[in-house]
Amino acid sequence: MSVIQSLAKSAPTPPSSIPRHSPGAYGAAMGLGRASVVPSLANAAQLDLMRGLSSVFRPAAEIFIASIMVIDVFALWLPRVLGALFRGADKPKAPKDASTLTKATTYLKGLNWNNAWEETWREVCSGPALFFWPTILFSMARKGFGGRAVELKQPVLESLTERYSELTPSKGSKAKALDAGWHKLLPKVFTELETAPKEFKTFMDGWFKKFSQLLSEQPIGSKNKEYVRKLEQHEKALMDKVLDLNRTHNPKKRFYKYDHILASFGDKPSLKPVSEVFNTLVNFRDLVRTAKRKTAHESAALKPLLKGVYHRILRAKALYSVLSVGITLAFLSRLVFWAQKNNNYPANRHVPLGGQKSASGVAGGFKQWAKAPLIIPNFKEWAR
């Protein structure tokens, strides 16, 4: 029998008559005196509530897509679909001249399913489309020329290529020169190494070796599970070391920036999050590997070759960015026509125009809009 099991057996049961909401009384009953450290039931419930809320708000506040989807579902889909379902469900008071109501509208009653379907299709498909098409297109881009280098920000791509080009030796075997350039680039990116303690430098030497080895293991753009896991582990190792370094050596200077490291992508060194530096290097490595593959077919010198690779990646990146916006726009424009097939607006089924007296044309429409009074609505009537 383990110590814990034996302890559990001897555990006292709290008296049921004690008011559990009072921490002092509860603690006293548990043998801790007035200065109890056991939270009351009310406190524990509050903590559980906060824990539950943070499991919702953590992804909603941190992940852009999660946040946009939460807003899309709760602030757009639900209110719009429900609003559409109930719009025109209750007939407004009959006008003085009942003949203004058409036969069709007179017979319609109940929930406005027609309108709700229109809104459902349109809203459900339009929010995710904003990410769907760019995701599809960039997954195609990653499989093409340059691999994940297309994900890099243009200024970073340019400055890193320039710096890499400067560091790559122009003599000897091209493939070896490209590798040598990569090994020289890594410590240049981590400018932190110039001032960091020796222990950190030793760690980074080993880290660089393993990193380069890891990135050469798989083909460009690989999604191999094991490889991805190894990359994540390697990133975590760096993150832990940086956290340790900052917490020990720069607790005040880098307050709330403990996961940042002094780095330079060919620009002025600045504090950057470790994850950003890591991902940038992983993505840039695909440019190096693409250039290495090209050396087998092309006789050009290394510098023009690297420039050529960079230009081609730039063109691919721009093309896929334009296509992402264009295809999404085309899809969204067509979606409205697919979802709203009815030739009239079903939301106004009980409220036909009647004796409408407005000017024609776009200007007339805006006049009508401008004339629409800002009234304080009759809540009782609306609720009914």
Binding site: G31, K93, K96, R142, K252
Partner: protein, 336 residues
């Protein structure tokens, strides 16, 4: 007779100039920085401080509108994909044209009177519904939501005397609290104490929910409960006296006790991994007590700003459209 300056000759190896497609690609991807440079130059030439203040939001809006470089990708586990996050300029283009524009155009099209009925006017109500609902909704979502959240958090951090935002007014994420408010050393504890989290530290340390012994532990392990309570009380008094070395020592001690119990519990065959996971969630490491406290302090602001968003872009415009349509109906039928 002028002499030729030989030092000005470019001796770099010949690299073919980029084609017009490459130049255009670069211009497209860096349109935002071009706009930024243009406004920065304008800012320098303007002397009036009022005009400078006016120019600042225009500049940031213009930079936002012209960012088209896709460079944010998120790894999603289910479904396994690398999701592209559109830059703000591209997102605004897609939302204003693809959502608002297309819907308003359809509303305009559907407003046409049936057949070739003479004398009947075009019905603008759907188009106007769309404009009122989506123009406001998209604009508030893109520009207003962040501002509201920032103001709320800023107010709370001043009132409660704790740090929830950085100097630029950006609210710290939950992960940032996890990484930066973990009190792993005396230096970190002192940094929080000195940099503005003193009140938060003292309040969290005196709150049994964050720095205490969970009920299930207190009930099951009376011996351990007493040891933990002693350490907690020593920690509290050390923190009050700003003895950071002693306070950190107590935190280490508390976590060692916690870890040994969790380790022994994991050996217990009757305890499933799921139950153990839940248990460790209920009894997290003591070093993280400040991080959890700060995370929980931002939640009311998150709830409020999301609530506001639901009302302002969700239910509000729908309610307004309904009220306006019904008022128009009554007016046109001589009922008002």
């Amino acid at each position: 007779m002028s002499t030729i300056d030989t030092t000005a000759i470019n001796l770099k190896p010949a690299v073919s100039p980029p084609s017009w497609v490459t130049r255009a690609s670069k211009q497209y991807l860096t349109f935002d920085s071009t706009v930024d440079k243009y406004f920065s130059n304008k800012e320098k030439s303007i002397k009036s401080p009022v005009l400078k203040k006016i120019l600042k939001p225009i500049k940031s809006l213009a930079v936002m509108l012209t960012s088209y470089d896709f460079n944010h990708f998120i790894n999603s586990k289910t479904p396994r994909a690398r999701i592209a996050e559109p830059p703000l300029g591209a997102l605004m283009l897609m939302m204003y044209i693809g959502l608002l524009g297309a819907r308003a155009a359809r509303g305009w099209q559907r407003g046409k009177p049936p057949g070739s009925a003479q004398g009947q006017k075009r019905d603008y109500r759907e188009m106007l519904d769309v404009l009122r609902r989506d123009m406001w909704g998209i604009t508030f979502y893109i520009f207003g939501f962040g501002v509201v959240n920032r103001l709320l958090v800023n107010r709370a951090q001043k009132r409660k005397k704790l740090i929830l935002q950085n100097k630029e007014g950006k609210t710290y994420t939950f992960t940032q609290h996890d990484l930066n408010a973990r009190l792993s050393s005396a230096q970190v504890l002192q940094a929080h104490y000195d940099k503005g989290n003193k009140q938060a530290l003292l309040k969290a340390a005196n709150n049994n929910s964050y720095m205490g012994v969970p009920q299930f532990i207190a009930r099951r392990y009376p011996e351990l409960r007493k040891q933990l309570a002693d350490s907690v009380n020593v920690f509290r008094s050390a923190l009050r006296n700003a003895d950071f070395a002693l306070a950190t020592e107590q935190l280490e001690k508390l976590d060692t006790m916690r870890d040994s119990v969790v380790k022994q519990m994991s050996k217990n065959s009757t305890l499933t991994a799921k139950k153990l996971g839940r248990l460790t969630k209920q009894w997290p490491e003591y070093k993280d007590f400040l991080a959890r406290y700060l995370q929980h302090k931002r939640i009311p602001m998150d709830v409020t700003s999301f609530g506001l968003l639901f009302v302002l872009i969700g239910y509000g415009p729908i309610w307004l459209n309904r009220v306006l349509t019904e008022h128009q109906y009554r007016k046109n039928n001589g009922m008002v």
